[in-house]
């Protein structure tokens, strides 16, 4: 570590990470609110009306970024899970634990907005479109990880078991995509794709990217906040004889 560089390893313990996270959250939250508001404004009011789909298509500005986030967050969660298993690092497991609910939320948002898009476009609240179906299965995987963790009382086992499941699931994600697309093309008559995006005008692309960025900022803020909760929870019952290592928790006790 250079003298001028930041020593990141010092933040790899929960005690050091806690205050750092606390300082970062307000910034991420503020940027998130600003960017998302801006993105929605551009998407809902400034981007041109689509020729084929009318104004209903505007839900794409939430649906597509949410879907991308759900996938990115799953991969990132799996990476933290892998690091946790490989290095036996508590913080990595906590990071994976903190990301899962946000990822699940984005998956649900993608499904919900996909449904809202389907109704005016195809007249049905749910269509077995390849991408929507894959998102649904991704939601099941997220929920599975969270349920497994909550079913195991022993913290170490819960961390490691949900990490293994996350890694197994991340291998499944591309396989699911491939197989569900295959399945969709198999059944020619039922092939509906509501996610065939309209030809993108410049403002549309901008709005989507802006929303993506906003969602990233939101994810950072929320994940860090959840990490702090996880850290405090785990400090609730420290090893016998050891004082609480986080000042806030020590004061509370």
């Amino acid at each position: 570590m250079s003298a001028t560089g930041i020593n990141w390893f010092k933040y790899s313990s929960p005690q050091a990470f806690y205050p750092l996270a606390g300082r970062m959250i307000p910034w991420f939250a503020a940027v998130a609110v600003g960017v998302i508001a801006g993105g929605l404004y551009v998407g809902f009011f400034i981007a041109p009306t689509d020729v084929t789909q009318g104004d209903a298509y505007r839900i794409i500005f939430v649906h597509v970024p949410a879907a991308w986030m759900s996938m990115f967050l799953y991969v990132i969660m799996a990476i933290w899970a892998g690091i946790g298993l490989g290095l036996n690092a508590r913080l990595s497991f906590m990071m994976a634990q903190a990301i899962a609910p946000t990822g699940a939320m984005f998956t649900f948002l993608a499904l919900f907005t996909g449904s809202m898009w389907g109704k005016p476009t195809w007249g049905a609240w749910w269509v077995w479109d390849a991408r929507l179906t894959s998102e649904l299965i991704l939601l099941f995987q997220y929920i599975g990880i969270m349920l497994l963790r909550s079913s195991i009382d022993d913290l170490r086992r819960a961390d490691r078991a949900s990490a293994v499941l996350a890694l197994v699931g991340v291998i499944n994600v591309p396989i699911i995509y491939f197989s569900v697309r295959w399945w969709n093309t198999l059944h020619q008559g039922a092939s509906v794709t509501i996610t065939a995006a309209p030809t993108m005008a410049g403002t549309m692309v901008t709005a989507m990217l802006v929303m993506m960025f906003g969602f990233w900022m939101y994810s950072f803020a929320v994940t860090l906040a959840r990490m702090r909760c996880v850290i405090v929870e785990r400090e609730r019952q420290p090893s016998w004889g050891k004082p609480a290592s986080i000042p806030d928790v020590a004061e509370a006790r």
């Binding site: 099941f140 699931g169 499944n172």
Partner: protein, 227 residues
Amino acid sequence: MSQPSLSEALRGVVRRDLLLAMRHRSDVAMSVFFVVIVASLFPLGVGPEPAVLRTIASGVLWVTALLACLLSLGRLFTADYLDGVLEQTLLIPQPLAVLVVGKVFSHWVISGLPVVLLSPLLGLQFGLAGDSLWVLTLSLLLGTPTLSMIGAIGAALTLGLRGSGLLVALLVLPLFIPVLIFGAGAVSNSLAGIGSEANLSLLGACFLLSLAFAPWATAVALRIALE
């Protein structure tokens, strides 16, 4: 110091499980009866029109086989976990992943193979004939061991937990879906007259992939569960 050879250890594990199954012959019967009963529920629910049944046959029979596999996963490791045999298995000085393959193999022989052998009869009940019956059997022959291997991961992760039966299902069903798609797809393609080689090859690929990775993941999960 004594050490069994890999084949000795594998044979020992498989032989013990098969011997236990012979003492509990009802285990074999249970999978078979389950599949028969559940498959019969669908015509009762949907109506006996041959055309409809033929359309739903591939999906129904595959989902039934999948559910049978799911329900039998509880028997894979739980008994060994409770009486301490699993602990001893972890201490055998041979790669745990290979021993897991042995356990899954004997489990499949007891719960999966009977379903495969019964499938032509079930296919006939649903109006499948000729080629599609063979495709059904072959797809299940490739698919059920794959499902068992993937399911073993879930069984190992949820060892000893309350409500593990339902939890295993939730964890493992997303992992089963590709196999279901390719398996049922093979049969429906064969019914439609399109070739099913593509689906069957994909099933074969799933089998090989699961053979390469699932036992190792299961071994990791077992060690975590037994800490």
